[in-house]
Amino acid sequence: MSETALQPTYSAPASPAAGWHGLVRMAARGMTLIVAAVVVMQVLRTVGAIELGFTSWQPVAIVVLLWFVVVDAAVYLTGGLKGQRLLFLLPALQITLSLVIFPTVFGLAVAFTQWDIGGISGPVFNGLDNFRYMATDERFWNALGNNFKYVLVAVPFQYVVAFAIALLLNQSIRGQKFFRVAFLLPFMISPVAVGWMIGRSILDANRGVVPKLLASIGIERVSFFDQPVPAFLGIVAMDSWISIPFMMVMLLAGLQALPTEVFEAAQIDGASGWKRFWDITFPLMLPVSITAVILRVIFEFKLVDVVRVVTAGGPGGATDTLSLFIYREGVESGNVGYATAMAMVFLVIVLVSVTALLVFLNRRVRDVVY
């Protein structure tokens, strides 16, 4: 097939009058100026520098949306073929700008303010005070430490169990489809529901089935969540029950994509089952494993729902997570400035941790595979 045949046949729009072009460009530039002015004005109002501006950010959002439409239209109408191509990219960029970049930049600004959402003064610039306070806030360090504990305890456990199940389900066993669906079910249930069903119902010290069963055989007054270590492990267990299927699906997909020839050759050479797993399956699965582990690490850093429902971070902060602490501080206590500062620091910590882990694991992969 010739290259010409693969090339889509674009036809440039009919060339509009030059004046019309200019008008559209002017409208787009004018709108850009207006948006810039409105955003600057509203930012200055929000930080208390000026009185002028809107009482809420809603009108700003509407102006920005209008700007997006005008800019997109201008690019399409005046950009010719290049403009048409750009139009495929622009909406995605605009969405990223408005939903990711702007909130991050805005959040960064808020992190340097004292902003009590119930306070009269609104946000007030306070320099590095939030970060200094964070350095001495034992609640912050406790929650952050717990996050790393969750990652270190839960993720390896989940990986091992998920891999084992994936290997089992990769075999030709009877009821294979049923088991695949059955093992996926916990992943389909809301973590909040799991917290209620298991943590607050089945394991509930006063009304739960498990404590009652234990009481019937003489083990009285069992409580799973009133001591730090059992409570922590209980949360890990529930989180694992929800998360293992996710890892299992990824690993199973990886296993099914492995070339069968290598295993057949190894079998002919007389390699044992363990040898085939350790020398062939595991190394070949490392790229998939890394992806699964990295994703789980990220999810583990964001752990909130089960903890909130079952222990609310207790007893004594033993199960608290930084995400939950940020939520409590920002939403329940209304200490928005400090909560945002913590969120920013947390973002950096997660980025650095995940990047470091990725680099480390990739090196290990190279060592093992090549």
Binding site: T55, S56, W57, Q58, Q114, D116, I117, G118, G119, I120, S121, G122, R139, D204, A205, N206, R207, P211, R221, V222, S223, F224, F225, D226, P228, V310, T311, A312, G313, G314, P315, G316, G317, A318, R328, V331, E332, S333, G334, N335, V336
Partner: protein, 545 residues
């Protein structure tokens, strides 16, 4: 009295008209719904007699029951006046309470007036922060707010609510409120904003059968227990009896002593700690017990609060397993389910004993004001004052001062202000409130008329039970040394900070003093964030200083 007569005349006029309309309903759509007729009553006593029998004590009201109550209590004369209007109502989603009962109770109002109610259901632990967010972002999307008196600094102090029209005051008979709920509660700068739908104080709920048990009395004596085995009147007795009841049974079931609420819950768990502390911390010579009114220096880490927290720590090990994770609703379930012998709670325990399917403690509960203390901490002298002569310092915790309805300024801008007030007046109406006080609703008695014992007896409550319950409520509301809640901005921020630290101490992560020192430091920060000078003046005003 003259006012009441006027209300009665006005009501009768409306009711006469409504009666005629009801009669004609068979022929035309008298209420906006073809063929639908509303059975209203002509006199208040008739209304009460009818609604209090729905379903009668011993049965939990169904949704149909509540619809019927809402229909019988309908006093609006705005037939079809709000057709096409939507009133947005934000309230709590506690199972079986609050918004869940408002829905059926307002169905007749919706049909009659033509308005539609859009409900925003929020968990109790989140409603304050949800409202705060709306205030801070200027996005108040609700017209009627179910809010607590403690938030009035945040809501009324910022001019976010609309002033109550005179016709509403008349319709709801605002003069019938108990003294605690009269101005300044519900008002700001002399203007009335709030329709009360609840009272609120913590009373002491105890198992009468436990303290009447001869077996337990004998064991108590044999174990060297001090004094007779009887209902405790001091926190010292509560502590001793809670220790004693560890491992005991009654009627073949385990029974525990006092039930604490420790799990942080958006500020609401604070009240349970405060109830333990008020007798130690609230000195009769000063209305201030949380802050120094001169500079807002916190009292929360003084010896009184530390002693109360140490009390909690000392008995948490003999409370039910996992009590550390029991929130306020779990504890309500525990006391109704027969697990504990004593707890401080709002009046909901009393109104649920005979009317909730969850309850197994019928004929086994009684009530008093919160226990007292033989000595009380004096913040002026920094020392404990002994009451002497075997007397105790009682200081009922006027916890929360009840839920109320506030119509927001935004309702005016959206053109639904009158509908919003009419809806709020329906829910805060005198007859309807009697029903919500008697049956499970999340609300407790808050009008003088609610304390008529006969109404409770007519509804099927045992007279002795109802008398003890009403006395515990009334004596708490009217107590000269009641621990009053300050209506200052950010009050729940203070409570959230304190309840977190209390939970840490009870879990053994900090000592009582360390935890409350941390709480005090956080309270200082919150005061600064909210402008200390402004907080001082508002706190002094809230205390009537």
């Amino acid at each position: 009295m003259a006012t009441n007569s006027r209300i009665l005349r006005a009501s009768l006029d409306r009711r006469t008209m409504l009666k005629a309309a009801t009669g004609a309903a068979a022929g035309f759509s008298a209420w906006g719904v073809p063929g639908k007729s509303y059975q209203r009553t002509l006199a208040q006593d008739d209304t009460l007699a009818q609604i209090l029998a729905i379903p009668g004590a011993g049965g939990q009201p169904t949704e149909a029951d509540m619809e019927r109550v809402g229909e019988l209590c309908l006093r609006s004369d705005k037939q079809g006046a709000f057709t096409g209007q939507t009133v947005t109502f934000i309230g709590l989603n506690n199972a079986g309470f609050h918004n869940n009962i408002f829905r059926p109770l307002t169905r007749a109002w919706e049909e009659y007036t033509g308005a539609t109610i859009q409900w925003i259901d929020v968990p109790q632990a989140e409603i304050f922060s949800r409202v705060q967010q709306g205030v801070a972002t200027g996005e108040i999307e609700f017209d009627v707010l179910e809010g607590g008196a403690p938030w009035e600094g945040d809501i009324l102090g910022r001019g976010l609510a609309g002033a109550m029209p005179d016709w509403v005051k008349e319709q709801i008979d605002i003069d019938d409120y108990v003294r605690l709920l009269q101005a300044p509660v519900g008002t700001w700068d002399g203007v009335t904003y709030r329709i009360s739908i609840d009272g609120d104080c913590h009373n002491f709920n105890y198992r009468s059968d436990v303290f009447a048990s001869p077996e337990l009395a004998a064991e108590w004596s044999a174990s060297g227990g001090e004094g007779d085995w009887s209902v405790p009147t001091s926190w010292q007795q509560v502590q001793a009896q809670t220790q004693f009841l560890n491992g005991k049974q009654i009627d073949g079931s385990d029974i525990y002593g006092y039930l604490d609420v420790v799990k942080p819950g958006g500020g609401f768990s604070w009240y349970f700690f405060a109830s333990r502390a008020s007798a130690y911390a609230k000195h009769p010579d000063s209305p201030a017990w949380l802050f120094d009114p001169d500079d807002m220096a916190p009292y929360v880490n003084n010896e009184a609060f530390v002693r109360a927290l140490q009390d909690m720590i000392d008995v948490i090990g003999v409370e039910p397993p996992d009590q550390l994770n029991a929130d306020l609703l779990v504890t309500l379930g525990q006391i109704l389910g027969g697990t504990g012998a004593m707890t401080a709670w709002w009046g909901d325990v009393g109104s649920n004993v005979y009317t909730s399917d969850q309850s197994v403690v019928q004929d086994k509960m009684s009530f008093s004001i919160l226990p007292g203390s033989p000595d009380v901490y004096n913040n002026e002298s920094g020392a404990w004052d002994t009451v002497g002569d075997g007397q105790l310092n009682f200081a009922p915790n006027e916890a929360y001062i009840g839920w109320g309805l506030y119509v927001m300024q935004e309702a005016e801008a959206r053109g639904v202000s009158e509908a919003a007030w009419d809806l709020a007046a329906h829910l805060g109406g005198r007859d309807l409130s009697m029903w919500t006080a008697i049956y499970p609703s999340g609300f407790q008695p808050y009008r003088n008329s609610h304390f008529e014992l006969q109404y409770w007896v007519d509804a099927g409550y045992p007279p002795e039970f109802a008398e003890a319950y009403l006395a515990s409520e009334s004596d708490s509301y009217n107590h000269p040394n009641g621990a009053i809640e300050p209506r200052i901005p950010g009050i729940f921020d203070y409570y959230i900070a304190a309840e977190e630290e209390v939970a840490l101490a009870v879990a053994g992560e900090k000592t009582a003093q360390e935890a409350l020192d941390s709480a005090a430091a956080r309270w200082e920060e919150i005061t600064d964030r909210n402008d200390r000078e402004s907080q001082i003046s508002l706190y002094q005003a809230a205390l009537g200083m």
